[in-house]
């Protein structure tokens, strides 16, 4: 264990006062609401991002909801969650007592849904920020909010008006040009973007001659997608001025460092939390060791290319 003395500064500022003690977050849907995960040392966590939360409780999809694929997994959980009232009433008061900050991931079928959740959580001490999951289909027009820059911007603008909380927009990679969507939400008032959410995939049960998942397709996560997520982060970090949070297939400190070197301001660990609950601690220590060895004082020194922001200075 590194001594605190020579520990480099791991804190990161994601904008609008969302300052985190470390750049290692746990990703939405892989840590519940912070209550169920195995009791491992959480002092490494910059923040916990909750399961996607909607205005009303949702039962989620019928089984089978998950399937393993090579170095990855598909999921079609169907946004099972207790609804924002339960979250605000039952969970938030406890979060307010924690030393790890909690960011609520928000989902919905319409702009109103997102706005409703954002309003309800605004000003609650236990909520440090919001992350908008724009991979959800918009029931109004069928399209996902996240695949159309205009739609994504409208959604971001509406939520921006509804809350003073730091606003992270989580981008979907299932698009031809993720940078266009990133620029649109940046212009619409996002404080940061997180990239990426899962890739749409299918698995077939050959023996039983049917798709593995009840919903046929699901979202691919895990190490398999790491190079694709890095491509998205590499492009976004070059084109956006707001911080980019890297997500996708991180298992080790080396994986996390790939994202930080590619230009990410912070990272989120997802599927790995299921496999190695102690991963966040190891990743955090590994980043600190790397910085010490290479003589970096602060995270902002890691990117291979200076960020636009720095460049403009």
């Amino acid at each position: 264990m590194p001594s605190m003395a020579d520990r480099p500064d791991l804190s990161v500022d994601l904008g609008r006062g969302l300052r985190l003690r470390t750049p290692v977050l746990v990703a939405s849907g892989t840590f519940g609401y912070g209550f169920d995960a195995p009791s491992v040392d959480r002092s490494a966590l910059g923040a916990i991002v909750t399961k996607g939360t909607t205005p009303l409780a949702r039962e989620g999809n019928a089984p089978t909801r998950i399937a393993e694929t090579p170095s990855g997994m598909l999921n079609a959980i169907g946004l099972q969650n207790p609804g924002v009232e339960h979250v605000a009433g039952e969970y938030e008061p406890t979060w307010a007592t924690w030393d790890v900050r909690v960011i609520v991931n928000v989902a919905g079928d319409s702009i109103d849904d997102y706005v409703t959740v954002a309003r309800r959580l605004n000003g609650l001490a236990g909520v440090a920020g919001l992350e908008l999951n724009i991979s959800c289909p918009n029931v109004a027009n069928g399209l996902q909010f996240g695949v159309e820059p205009g739609l994504a911007a409208d959604l971001t603008r509406a939520v921006r008006r509804a809350t003073e909380l730091p606003l992270i927009v989580k981008l979907t990679p299932n698009v031809t040009d993720i940078v266009a969507v990133g620029k649109a939400v940046e212009a619409a008032g996002a404080d940061a973007v997180s990239a990426i959410n899962t890739y749409v995939g299918v698995a077939i049960d050959v023996r039983r001659r049917r798709p593995m998942l009840s919903r046929i397709s699901g979202g691919l996560s895990g190490p398999a997608i790491k190079p694709l997520a890095l491509q998205a982060v590499w492009q976004l970090a070059a084109e956006l001025t707001i911080p980019v949070i890297g997500i996708g297939g991180i298992r080790t400190a080396s994986d996390a460092l790939e994202f930080l070197l590619a230009g990410a301001a912070a990272v989120q660990l997802g599927t790995v939390n299921y496999v190695r609950p102690q991963a966040a601690r190891e990743v955090c220590d590994g980043i600190a060791d790397y910085m010490r060895i290479h003589g970096f004082q602060a995270l902002r020194a890691l990117p291979l290319r200076p960020s636009r922001e720095v460049a403009r200075v």
Partner: protein
């Protein structure tokens, strides 16, 4: 209950019955395991990612040992089957809810195929409580039956699909000969379904039946929501948190899907 992530050393590897492997490990929480609980075991097979859920077949407070009994169905179990004495296993657990062993009067344990893996520990605990126990074992053929000695103190009744031992047919047929005050069941979902139908026929209340469920699992701890099982009255239970051992009355058997068998 605090979940422990720990490496356990393999002490022994044996073949308890045809086509199955038994691994014995020494584990710090052996004493804390309730019969019916499971572990998420890390596997290092190429192209795999997730841990694999396995019931503790038995555990010994005194020796600090835990046994796992399994068969090879894919990459993960094939990797596990290649562990030998001295190797380390990466265990997360004990997880979930075991069987509720409270109550008195005759207890009937019924196992289909590898479902038997959970029962050595269950039977031992029931016998220790002084309850009369009947262990109903179902297998494809005689060689695939876990030997009677593994169920000391219980009356063992057997059924095989090929008639090579005991009743020629389904293990569920053996229920009619019993008068249980509690039933503990584990096996392929179709077999559990058949058990529930038979119980209704025999007018055995579902409240007295506990089943150990098997669903795909992502995390094993309640965070991925991947292990849903249909709850009676709507919605879903989480197999890893509300189960794997649940009372049959809590499940909506009409919506029960089977991710694995048939």
């Amino acid at each position: 209950m605090t979940v422990v992530i720990d490496t356990a050393v393999v002490l022994d590897r044996t073949t308890p019955m045809a086509g199955a492997v038994e691994l014995v490990v020494s584990h710090q929480s052996a004493a804390a395991i309730e019969p019916g609980q499971f572990f998420q075991i890390g596997v290092g097979a190429a192209h795999t990612l997730l841990r694999r859920p396995y019931s503790a077949a038995w555990s010994s407070r005194s020796s600090g040992r835990v046994g796992f009994i399994f068969n090879v169905v894919g990459a993960g179990s094939a990797w596990l089957a290649n562990r030998h004495a001295g190797h380390e296993l990466d265990l997360l657990g004990p997880l979930g809810r075991g069987f509720d062993l409270e109550g008195d009067g005759p207890a009937v344990c019924i196992a289909g195929g590898l479902g038997v893996a959970v029962f050595p520990g269950v039977v031992e605990a029931l016998v220790a409580r002084g309850r009369p126990v009947a262990m109903l074992l179902g297998a494809r053929t005689a060689a695939q039956l876990l030997p009677e000695e593994r169920f000391a103190g219980a009356e063992v009744l057997v059924a095989t699909d090929d008639g090579s031992a005991g009743h020629h047919g389904s293990v569920v047929d053996l229920m009619a000969a019993t008068t249980p005050s509690n039933v503990f069941a584990c096996g392929p979902t179709p077999m559990l379904q058949a058990l529930v139908d038979e119980a209704r026929r025999l007018e055995i209340p579902l409240s007295s039946i506990q089943v150990a469920l098997e669903t795909p699992m992502g995390c094993g701890v309640g965070t991925c929501l991947g292990c849903a099982a249909p709850r009676r009255g709507g919605g879903y239970l989480l197999t890893c948190q509300d189960g794997p051992c649940v009372r049959a009355e809590r499940l909506d058997w009409s919506r029960m899907t089977d991710a694995f068998h048939g």
